[in-house]
Amino acid sequence: MIDHLTTNDIVHLNERTIRAHGGAFAKPENLREEKRLNDITDEAATDSHLRLTDKAAFYLHSIITQEVFLNATERTALLAARTFVLLNGGVFHKKLKVANQNDKKIPKNADGNQEIWLKLVAQVSSGDLSLENLREWFGRNVSS
């Protein structure tokens, strides 16, 4: 059974990265609007996102595109997707790869693990990567 992240979990992740890497946490939850995050955690638990990797892609994509937090949204989205995979026994491949979908590179112009993570986040933020693109990437880079 998949252990989905709750709204409280994701707020906790936001607080953790702000404490570790800087920024301001606006109490009580640093959220722009609680409903946005509740809707995300509800939808992640539905059958619209069946595989572990589909759900991880959804956490990363939706937290960023819906600008859930007042601060540190991108970091939190990355941390949520990774924590969700690892919490459920998934393993990221040691050497991450750029994926291909309909001749599109996911992410583009990236080489090496760190750059791939940074470009994934940046290209979701800029609208260059869709949820489908992220599903493809997580599917290619995670063993579950």
């Binding site: 906790h12 992740l13 990355l78 990774r82 919490l87 760190q114 993570w117």
Partner: protein
Amino acid sequence: MTPRFPLFLYFLTQPISMPNSPNQTDLKALVNALNQRDNNIKTRRVRIDAIVDEDFIVLDAVYQQLAK
């Protein structure tokens, strides 16, 4: 239903919950279940924090870069 006699008499006629009555047993079971749930939540949060601690080491440069 509203009692038609004085209130203190109404309470006197109601069954008193004894230490081993079914009500008491149900309450203990509920308390145990809530404690168990609380422990499960704490254990899960410890697991999440351990994953986060390790991730902050593995991807330190990425998180630092995103924080700029």
